[in-house]
Amino acid sequence: MGHSYTPGLRVAKRTVIAKDRILPLKGEVVNKIGDLVQRDSIVAKTDLPGNVSTINVVNLLGIQAMEIDQYMLKKVGDSFEKDELIAESKSFIKWFSTQIKAPLKGKIESISSVTGQVLLREPPIPVQVKGYINGKVTEVVPKEGVVVETVCSFIQGIFGIGGETWGTLKFAVKSPGDVLEEANITSEYKDAIIVGGAFADFAAIKKAIQVGVKGIILGGIKDGDLRTILGYDLGVAITGSEDVGVTLVLTEGFGKIQMAQRTWNCLKDREGAIASISGATQIRAGVIRPEIIIPYDDADLSRIEKEVHEAKPVAIGNQVRVIRQPYFGRIGTVTDLPSALTQIESETHARVLKVKFEGNNEEVTIPRANIELIEE
């Protein structure tokens, strides 16, 4: 049979992670293989072409498009300062001539004798890519960027918003089932990444933003609160560029859902360390999950060996999380993997497995599509 596997979210106490740090356009790579980089050091940089604006010189001067070259004071490729003259109509008396001044600093991109338009290009926009994690450069992609590897604790979330950030990992609640209340959030969490248990509502998240919290790690939030935070209803799960003042990583999903004990324990072990997190999520082609990377700064980076992580098929004894009703959010252990198709309540014939839940000995049948492995 062809390979079938159930993708899971990784929760690893100690592993090796490689992060691509790549520019959006070709540019200059700062580091070489073997360099140790810091999360805030620049590893690659480039200049994005500046924005373009247009001036219809022909309309402004009241001339024919084909005559435009005669009236331009600057040619294609010429630079100019803001308010510098770039075109002027001819008149015997200077006072009567119409002058066109540059609305910004830049260069002439093109002059069209068909449309009479002049395109102005603003100065290039510098773009820098930072290390994001403390680690070692193990690969250089010429003119594009580097690959940084580190020994770390690594947790994948299921959904997030907001870009890359880092801060000290602090706990604002006492257990994975707790709710992060507005009152829990104090100024001691400024610049920190806080762990908030099962759930936080809009008031709590707003308070965190006010206090200056860099990131929040939670089991879940309400869809309605997400809408309030973003200011719109998110239609497709492609995130990471939101500018809401905080990065949010959900470990379980939407609703109030206790954070998996293993995730909680993994975070708890690293309390006080610096965590790099990203909320960027893309569920469609090229899957990107939000992530929490907590490097071990004392690890011997000179001895990093590349880790090959392969998705494995689900097996009896695996710990799994149920990811759909009626047992959504519950965690248990696989006890049986019947191979025949089984009819479930919805009358669908599906491949199923049996799971014994944590906390009690309840054993239920669940479609294999509705669980995910909690992977090391």
Binding site: P49, V114, D223
Partner: protein, 598 residues
């Protein structure tokens, strides 16, 4: 190819799954015999589409006992149970073909350009036009941001405006967008506009982008010539876009004919059905991320893709655009609205899950009705006559003057609806598929409904390129499942219960003579291959295809579901009172025998 063909293996590389089917000669006929599937392997860690293809084919090998692979190679000579005559494939992996189109006037050349791109199997990310009310710098910024796979530039009839077309070329040149896949290849731009502007467009774009020039897609206002642009788009897709995707170069060497974009292949087979049976057809393919709608009305083929309506990745978008109230109106039970919102978001982030409970299935099917409805609404907006065309009017037109650009889809003239995609093809009961399609498309008069049994239309679409006869034979014998016929008098009343039609149905030697009241939904068993004679007498404000109040007599086809007589009006009327609404939904569900519990 000749009728000596013994076996063909076909794959469709989707965003998440690669599906393989085997077509074999069984006795004197061609049948689809085995299928296999495997996860698509375009993404890391595999980054080679052929791995998923080989896995899917391997599954077919194991099930069929036919040896198809020799290591990583397909055996393309047949010797008994070894080898196949041809290997063909379609692809929508990596998000399919994403295009931006531009034209001088939004409702004329830009709209024609949009139709050309969609018909070629693309997703249209944005439509630029000289009169789209955006400022030049906003247009430039937009082109830069989107990073399409390809741009189609049109504009101007031959001999018409040059300035507007050149202006658009200048914007594209200034934006100099980088392609989505691969940092170093040049973005393909196809110019299909005023031939008088070709020189200038070349001057502006040729040194920056991979410019190709083809025939004007709107040579005159009265004429749309989309085929040259469509074919060129598909060529460019293969040469430039696909060649950048991981493993595609290898795949292109493996296939016997060129790889087609999946929606283009589905469009091909839809047109074949319509042509063979001389009927008007609407087809829909509802996926996880997008919903494609196809129509073949007379000689005109149209395709639209609702890029953000689907049942998993885009499910939240369906909710956002349809509104929660429209989703909830199909449910017969109480559930907290916030809970529904959270569940839909959870499906978005875990798109491969399936409904385990009956309640979950009902919610999912309610959303699918709305996704199909919204996608069909979008299709009707684009499947229109040409705008800006001069019309000759007579005195008789004074009281019924229709503007140009009217929708060409008239529901009473529609003969068949074909459904495809997981939620329709894999619904636990076929009655559910038929019900979802009736509720979303609101057929009027007499309409046959069918579904694609296991989603093999893409494979058959590309097969039609090498052998139309085999493709048609397999399509009719193994692909299409006839669900039955829907009889729906079109019209509206304020209150349920009033008589809107009487009818006589003769089938299997028996005649049923009944009245249909407003709000009724009736289901009669009429099996596959069976027919019934019907005589329908609608009330004076209702039309069943022959005109308001006019009798219709004819023959209707059966199917796995049978005959549905739908008296719910068009559009379907829902009671204002919530309890009454739930009761009527239960009644309708029961009439259609949709679920084990209502």
């Amino acid at each position: 190819m000749s009728k000596d063909i013994q076996a063909i293996i076909a794959t469709d590389c989707g965003s998440t799954t690669t599906k393989a089917i085997l077509i074999e000669k069984v006795g004197n006929e061609y049948r689809q015999t085995f299928r296999g599937e495997a996860p698509t392997t375009v993404e890391a860690p595999f980054e080679d589409v052929t791995k998923g293809v080989l896995n899917a084919i391997q599954e077919v090998e194991e099930l069929s006992g036919r040896k198809i692979l020799d290591g990583d190679k397909i055996i393309t000579t047949v010797n008994g149970k070894v080898g196949v005559d041809a290997y063909i494939s379609t692809s929508s992996a990596g998000g399919g073909l994403q295009m931006m189109v531009a034209g001088a006037i939004k409702t004329m050349t830009a709209e024609s350009a949009q139709r050309a791109a969609l018909g070629a199997g693309a997703i249209v990310m944005d439509i630029l036009a000289s009169n789209d009310k955006r400022l030049p710098h906003q247009k430039i910024e937009r082109i830069r941001q989107l990073r399409p796979d390809m741009i189609l530039l049109s504009g101007g009839t031959d001999g018409g405006t040059v300035t507007h077309v050149v202006e658009l070329a200048e914007y594209i040149g200034a934006a100099d967008p980088k392609p989505r896949l691969g940092m170093s290849y040049r973005l393909p731009v196809l110019y299909a506009g005023n031939k008088d502007a070709r020189g200038k467009v070349k001057e502006i774009l040729d040194h920056k982008m991979a410019l190709t020039i083809t025939d004007n897609l709107r040579p005159t206002l009265e004429e749309e010539n989309l085929m040259p642009a469509r074919l060129e788009i598909q060529n460019l897709f293969l040469e430039h876009v696909m060649a950048q995707a991981p493993g595609y170069k290898k795949l292109m060497e493996m296939v016997s004919v060129e790889i087609m974009p999946t929606p283009a292949a589905v469009g091909e087979i839809m047109q074949t059905i319509a042509r063979l049976n001389s009927i008007n057809v609407i087809g829909v393919d509802i996926g996880g991320a997008t919903t494609d709608v196809f129509s073949v009305i007379g000689e005109t083929f149209n395709r639209t893709v609702s890029a953000n309506y689907g049942m998993s990745y885009s499910i939240s978008n369906v909710l956002a655009d349809a509104g929660l109230k429209n989703v909830m109106r199909w449910l017969s039970f109480d559930i907290d609205e916030k809970e529904v919102r959270d569940r839909i978001k959870n499906k978005m982030i875990r798109p491969t899950t399936i409904p385990q409970s009956l309640e979950e299935l009902k919610i999912e099917q309610a959303i699918s009705r709305e996704a199909l409805r919204l996608s069909f609404d979008q299709h009707k907006l684009l499947a229109v006559g040409l705008k800006g065309v001069q019309q000759t009017r007579t005195i008789a037109d004074v009281f019924s003057q229709e503007g140009t650009g009217q929708s060409i889809i008239k529901m009473t003239e529609l003969d068949m609806i074909v459904g495809s995609g997981g939620v329709l093809s894999h619904a636990p009961r076929r009655n559910q598929s038929m019900s979802m399609m009736i509720d979303a498309f609101l057929p009027e008069g007499i309409t046959t409904l069918t579904v694609d049994s296991i989603f093999m239309m893409p494979h058959l679409g590309v097969l039609a390129k090498i052998d139309g006869e085999i493709a048609t034979e397999v399509f009719q014998k193994d692909c299409l499942i006839y669900l039955g016929t829907c009889i729906a008098p079109a019209g509206q009343l304020k209150k349920f219960g009033q008589k809107i039609m009487d009818y006589k149905i003769t089938m299997g030697g028996k005649t049923i003579q009944e009245d249909l009241h407003f709000g009724d939904l009736k289901h009669f068993h009429l099996g596959i291959g069976e027919t019934a004679e019907v005589e329908l007498n609608p009330a004076k404000n209702f039309d069943v295809g022959a005109g308001k109040g006019k009798t219709y007599k004819g023959t209707v086809q059966g199917g796995v579901v049978g005959l549905i007589v739908d008296g719910r009006g068009r559009p379907i009327e829902f009671p204002e009172d919530d309890q009454e609404r739930k009761n009527i939904i239960k009644k309708w569900n029961q009439a259609m025998d949709l679920y084990p519990v209502y």
